[in-house]
Amino acid sequence: MYEGAIQDLIDELGRLPGIGPKSAQRLAFHVLSADPIDVRRLAASLVKVKEVVKFCTICFNVAEDDKCRICRDPRRSDEILCVVEEPKDVVAIERTNEFRGRYHVLGGAINPLEGVGPDNLRVRELMQRLADGEVKELILATDPNTEGEATATYIALLVKPMGITVSRLASGLPVGGDLEYADEITLGRAFEGRRTI
């Protein structure tokens, strides 16, 4: 245990996901020895991100406005909607240049062991978006792991009776992986080869 400000910083860093006590300590001492200007810039961007960045009211992607850049773009198709877990998955798919429709960000995957059920995700909002009948195809691009697959199965169960084509990204994405780590080529191919479920 350290005293005062340095221990406070270690404690705060240690609350971040994926940061253990040792990493928190390492990061805290890195900050301590860093240039004051760099530290000020880091602190400012931490504060700014909470003040400026909001969630798009339509697709729940990150946005600096009511609507995100993709929802505002008139050239994109409203007939095809891609469902992802997190905003970082939107970025990964956008990099492929394969997709010209719109997105819906669930905010995670169904994970009963962590207490996350359908009601904790933006599933109800998805169903509301689909209700007007404009969307013709729904692509389920949740992670190719157990929680992602189960989430896709659950949404397909709800959506299929509505007469919407539901497809899942093609295999080639290894099971157990994170979508964000797929390279553009693999992810692009998975898009092209998506299969109706």
Partner: protein, 254 residues
């Protein structure tokens, strides 16, 4: 065996069920395993979330795996893994069964409160329940309730069903009290005891004893009542409520 810094880390090998998978850092995972001979262990799997990992698919939840790990002072580290039966693929395409499997995993984890303590009976029960769930021969909720009843029996706090939970008078008693520990006779019945349908108690006895012929024939109303009593009895004995139990999809979608 404790890990002594500076020494080559000793390796252990066992077969195990993957109970829980959590993200760690950029591309690692913490895997919680219920092993046959070493009880519940937690180990780091390095790089499994990278798309190039060959191990990722084998360390998904619900898998029965043959695993080798290096002992660490805190977390262990997985060094090799082979799939024996990757049961998860049976569940992800059947949402109600997926949620039942999650409740089985969480129960197994909670009943092994201490790591590295052998729990062979619970391992066998858990593996058996997952296999039955994957087979699909019986309804998922029945497999789950049978597992919960047997796991409770193994812990020594199964509900009394064929005698009074308080005075042990044998016989079929109509009242059921979670606080008293199961069925109670008219003399011992506390205020607020439930009065389940006699067939519901029959179903619970069948599930506990492995009488699937009786269990499979049970009506939906009895299955529902049975699930409610089993869940209430389980929660009463757990320090904290199970997170996955309220999320079990019992197929009552409208």
């Amino acid at each position: 065996m404790a890990y002594v810094p500076g020494m080559r880390r000793p390796l252990q090998r066992d077969d195990a069920v993957v109970l829980r998978v959590q993200k760690l850092g950029e591309s690692d995972r913490i895997i919680t395993l219920l092993t046959r001979r070493h009880g519940r262990i937690r180990a780091v799997a390095r790089g499994v979330r990278k798309m190039t990992s060959r191990y990722g698919a084998r360390l998904e939840p619900f898998g029965h795996v043959d695993v080798q790990w290096a002992l660490g002072s805190g977390l262990h580290t997985i060094s090799q893994v082979e799939g024996l039966a990757l049961l998860g693929k049976h569940f992800v395409e059947d949402y109600p069964r997926y949620t039942a499997a999650c409740a089985i995993m969480e129960t197994a984890e909670r009943l092994t409160s201490e790591e590295d303590q052998p729990a062979l009976r619970l391992f066998l029960l858990t593996l058996g329940a997952l296999r039955a769930l994957a087979d699909g021969e019986h309804a998922g909720t029945l497999v789950l309730d049978a597992y919960l009843l047997r796991a409770m029996a193994h812990e020594g706090w199964a509900p009394a069903l064929a005698e009074c939970a308080v005075c042990a008078t044998p016989g079929r008693h109509r009242a059921f009290s979670v606080a008293a520990g199961g069925c109670v006779c008219p003399n011992c019945r506390p205020p607020g005891a439930a009065h389940p349908h006699p067939l519901t108690i029959d179903l619970m006895i069948a599930l506990l004893g492995g009488d699937w012929k009786t269990a499979d024939a049970a009506e939906p109303a009895q299955r529902r009542e049975c699930s409610g009593l089993v869940a209430a009895h389980l929660q009463w004995h757990m320090e904290r409520a199970l997170r996955s139990l309220p999320l079990v999809d019992r197929g009552e979608r409208t």
